[in-house]
Symmetry: D2
Subunit: 420 residues, 4 copies
Amino acid sequence: MKLSLHDVKDLSLASQGKLKIEWAGQQMPVVQLIKARFSQEKPLKNITLGACLHVTAETANLMLALKAGGAKPVLCASNPLSTQDDVAAALVKYFKLPVFALHGENKQRYYQHINKVLDYQPQITMDDGADLISVLHSKRKQQLKNIIGSSEETTTGVIRLRAMEKDKSLKLPVIAVNDSATKHLFDNRYGTGQSTIDGILRATNILLAGKTFVVCGYGWCGRGIARRAKGMGSKVIITEINPVKALEASMDGFQIMPIQSAAKIGDIFVTATGNKKVIDYQHIKLMKSGAILANAGHFNVEINIQALKKAAQASRQIRTNLQEYMLGNKKIYLLAEGRLVNLAAAEGHPAEVMDLSFANQALAAEYLIKHQNQLDNKVYILPQKIDQRVARLKLRAGGFKIDQLTPAQKDYLSSWQMGT
Amino acid sequence: MKLSLHDVKDLSLASQGKLKIEWAGQQMPVVQLIKARFSQEKPLKNITLGACLHVTAETANLMLALKAGGAKPVLCASNPLSTQDDVAAALVKYFKLPVFALHGENKQRYYQHINKVLDYQPQITMDDGADLISVLHSKRKQQLKNIIGSSEETTTGVIRLRAMEKDKSLKLPVIAVNDSATKHLFDNRYGTGQSTIDGILRATNILLAGKTFVVCGYGWCGRGIARRAKGMGSKVIITEINPVKALEASMDGFQIMPIQSAAKIGDIFVTATGNKKVIDYQHIKLMKSGAILANAGHFNVEINIQALKKAAQASRQIRTNLQEYMLGNKKIYLLAEGRLVNLAAAEGHPAEVMDLSFANQALAAEYLIKHQNQLDNKVYILPQKIDQRVARLKLRAGGFKIDQLTPAQKDYLSSWQMGT
Amino acid sequence: MKLSLHDVKDLSLASQGKLKIEWAGQQMPVVQLIKARFSQEKPLKNITLGACLHVTAETANLMLALKAGGAKPVLCASNPLSTQDDVAAALVKYFKLPVFALHGENKQRYYQHINKVLDYQPQITMDDGADLISVLHSKRKQQLKNIIGSSEETTTGVIRLRAMEKDKSLKLPVIAVNDSATKHLFDNRYGTGQSTIDGILRATNILLAGKTFVVCGYGWCGRGIARRAKGMGSKVIITEINPVKALEASMDGFQIMPIQSAAKIGDIFVTATGNKKVIDYQHIKLMKSGAILANAGHFNVEINIQALKKAAQASRQIRTNLQEYMLGNKKIYLLAEGRLVNLAAAEGHPAEVMDLSFANQALAAEYLIKHQNQLDNKVYILPQKIDQRVARLKLRAGGFKIDQLTPAQKDYLSSWQMGT
Amino acid sequence: MKLSLHDVKDLSLASQGKLKIEWAGQQMPVVQLIKARFSQEKPLKNITLGACLHVTAETANLMLALKAGGAKPVLCASNPLSTQDDVAAALVKYFKLPVFALHGENKQRYYQHINKVLDYQPQITMDDGADLISVLHSKRKQQLKNIIGSSEETTTGVIRLRAMEKDKSLKLPVIAVNDSATKHLFDNRYGTGQSTIDGILRATNILLAGKTFVVCGYGWCGRGIARRAKGMGSKVIITEINPVKALEASMDGFQIMPIQSAAKIGDIFVTATGNKKVIDYQHIKLMKSGAILANAGHFNVEINIQALKKAAQASRQIRTNLQEYMLGNKKIYLLAEGRLVNLAAAEGHPAEVMDLSFANQALAAEYLIKHQNQLDNKVYILPQKIDQRVARLKLRAGGFKIDQLTPAQKDYLSSWQMGT
């Protein structure tokens, strides 16, 4: 079979993309350090690596680190609206990577692109939402046997993969990169937190101070968004289904209530649950005119967009990523078509956060190869040592120093005889 | 003399500009209410009004309110980088306003535009930084006698005008709109606070969490920026020259130190002082590689850009509004050429904040006409009653209710006989 | 007339009080510096100074500074519940000051004590709530002519005095120490803020995180309390009568609503308005069982305690400063009998805050003497220079350095010719 | 052997203690609900239960719930300085419980009391710091065989017990109540956070705003303390030995540095690490005069008090729980002898937080009995279902409602076929 070489928007955007990659790289010191080591050690030598990730400047830096390690990476988008076309062009033109991603591609082309990556017969795969791995398990099962292992970036993807593991349908070992502390504690909280605010501001330019800001879900993403919204002066309401998280949100100083109640008083709504129809049409009907809806969860199912569209008498685009729907004489605003607002309306996680996540991704690939044939078809977490190493590199890069346990303190921690 | 009709970038941008004006207008309920009243009462009938303001969608709504009140507004930019070309086009095409403003115009054209506005022989002027009034006082003194009065929007401008009042060079009455509580307590703090963060994010996409963020100046703008930077997870340092403000910053939980010390540890620097060379080359020399410099003060004099440019061996544009300067092997980044980062790299104050400021502007124009010939060549503040009215309209528009004093409480407040 | 020498609880508490005075003094470096200068210059030589202030360790340090300056201070309490009996004893025993103050004294004795101070024929008076000056103007008018001037510490007192000035009943010049920036910006906000929280915790030991905390009034005290309650994890609601302040509270991220609405959902209520019956019985009736009421305003009139007591079927003391009232099967808790909760249930403002306020008090006394016969019977504010001097001393004591304007910057600030 | 009936300070304090127990109970709705069920079901019938816990009003409510469940509880203190003598008296006098605890008891009597409890031959034990279980394993091994199981409340204790499990010295099953989400996520963070601040304020009455506040350790306690200190206006510095936690602290906006560096600039130091000599004499030597030291960890080993005492030329008590040490002409202040500052200088966790912890304790006792003979000599965590039940009861008690998953949402979460 003849392999496609690339499918990107416009190669003339490449030089702009290169600058972006460079700027991002400057804020990714941990990936740079790993890249430097990989260049020496070539731990991924001759490995074809199929990646389905947001095609951004940060991902580009990961690809370059993997390539430096000897791998042959092939890349497609993990979300139709998150591709930075100039970065995709730069990867093709300057770095000779096969890339299949266009900003705004339709669903058909999106899956076509996943298949083009799989055509390369990757031995390692990387996912962000588990779409590639799903295609593998449903449409291209014959390839599964050739795959050493996979890694998954998101909570959403890990939930899907654990469901597969549970019903025995998972056919390869997976590293849940998301579950590394240096990933989910940072990326989801600080990254999604900031970039969701950023996306809302770019799409609307509204004032957040004084607004009632409803966050659906108090997982790591929701916590991050809530904290930043509060930091911008909003009054934050949390909706949850988990009583422990709801209680935590309440003690963190946020109002908690069911979405049914929040719907009536919110000015801005952001979903971050990993679930569907969290904001359903019955809730939209209760909202004030001018209410703004956005989604920060991986898939665009958290808001019932179909129902909103169906119910609207009219609709028009007000600004980039800001769509107005008329429901009677009420105006409801949807950002970025209900897709990940931080990626679609802003630039996704800042490079610095992705530095941690992608350091874990690079080390996960290395780990899979080192432990080839030793892993079962399960979802694994990287050992804590790797987590701590990533954190330590990051601190060093920032010029931060921390304490070390003294020998006496180490003894104390492992003893139990001493008491009051 | 033949009057110029307009000088804008591209009239074909008008429909996009119209949408922007509409979206902004939706968040400016107070100005809309004033506009409705003005349409009835025509308090500005036949008044030519020369405005030198940031040419944005919010300003457009003010212009339309003034026009509804019977005025003939003529508009030029108060900053070469803040003009929204589509809004300028819309004002010309759909609303038939003479507008003179191009995004990125040079200094010469900038002053040409001010002169074109003055050619219309305005009876009322509006300033944002006092440039128009300065031209009037220096180059076109003969027009001063025809002017009923002026209003000024910014702290910077009011400082200049009070200096003029003090040395007796002020030749017309001025309303310091900036000094209304509903202006400076809101616009400078919540508006500049949010939009400065927004500008920095759009220009750089860096992570703010964990960064050392230096704010020079703890006036209303500085307070707003500091609070928002903290709200985004930064470690904030304040530099000040006023001991009372420095003490306040310290008790607000911020580190305080001289710029000389902050220079060595900051990741991001934002000036908001109204003064010049607050960050001078001697400070830039002390900074870490990767340091980011931005200005949120009115004029681009707060950072010594000339010295930076002169000292740099090389310079290149990394992203829109992000310029890299090489000093030895150190990289220093300057945002938006040192101009107002919130306007140049983001969209300036959100409409909701400008709603308050521009409600004051509209009422200032009305006030000047009502008190024509009763005012001296001084800087005035609008009466507290107008301030409270603006706030009350805003609360009503937001659906908020507050308490009223009971008659017994009013008595109590004005009595002094009751004690312990 | 034979002068009383003192009326304090128990002189055997003196040594404990002395330690308290010393500990407070250690955190009052500005007053110590002033005391050192006063010792040299004796600016208050032979002046009898009648002070009606909270009798605390901080006030003791002020008294000692005034004495060092040559004054003969005589002291009584400005609130029946704020007296620290051990401090009163120490002032009598070790420092030979006439002091008239007992913790928990009744109203009659309270006014008796004011009169005992006035018996000393003071030439300067100091007030905290204007009770002494009220007695002077109502019952002891004949003494007014001997008085050089007075100073007043609180917002409440200044409101009363300005009312007197307005209706021409003020018969001596008064320095509104409260209106110095280094007083009201710090004392009311950081002092009342922290100590109100402290008082609530000592009286109740309830968890603040997750609680709905209603603050009535968004003046400097209310702002401080609201910020600290938020800082402890509460959900804060503000009630206001001033639309500008209400709008500010909203944009600061607080919910705003009338007390009528807040009454139904609050867990804790704190009044800080300077007005009466802000929480009236009609509001108490709406409250949840378990609601806690406290007052942080100067007088115990902000909550309608009489009505609460009258309506209660039963009442008992649960803890020190915590009284339970049964209304049907609802329990309502009142802290510290509705008196200043921060003074009655905690220890009032921390010494560090009082350092600033009392530095102003000491300098106000000096100012009154220096400007003897030059002042009208008006309410004055200390010149900004004194304010800045106090702040500068405080920064120096804390080891903080700040920037200085360069000559070029001074020029720039006073010029108006430079522009865009 | 004749059993001791009690050893408490003063039975005449009992009525005051009863009020305290009642007030605490009012804020412990979850324990009350469990008590009501226990009264019906008697799940602990005839079980002798030996508890070594802080003898506070909240513990009293737990004891009463256990007693209602049929148990015969015997109680001693888990810390010599945390006993509330009035509560101990009330438990003896009104509720006929054997209690062995005196505030300020010495080490010998402390261990005597543990032994008196063990004399009762308990079948279930409860620990807070693992002292009772340590005595069991070292001095009274013969009793181990009679014990069904134990529970442990603290992080410190759990660390000790896991060390015992690891080296096979653990001889009974233990429930790590600490590790329930509704315990450590709430108690350690919101409880220790608030009460540590409370303890510092009661011991010192210093102003926290503007102070440099050093927190050693960024575990759940440290996080809580840091957040509250920030909420009170302090500038917070974190010291850590774990790079992941250090990075998190940094991104949460706190300064991070080694204790060696923090020692020089801190005003207040609080240890919360579970380790020893975290603040050693070499650090104390670097501190500023006036520095305040406190400990919020379980044992008084975190600060090297011995070395401080040895080095001091003089020492005196300034206030209750505030000891001054002279080192040359430097003054260092130690709070509550380095013992748990929140318990020794304030009242420990607010009842509302203990409600969650003690609900878990009560359910742990029930769980141990239900699973008698099914558990190994290991450290167990209560099942998540119990955690969620506790949280749900708490939400219900607070009148909070939250969302429920719809059947379609449940399906979605357990599926993996749906994707982009």
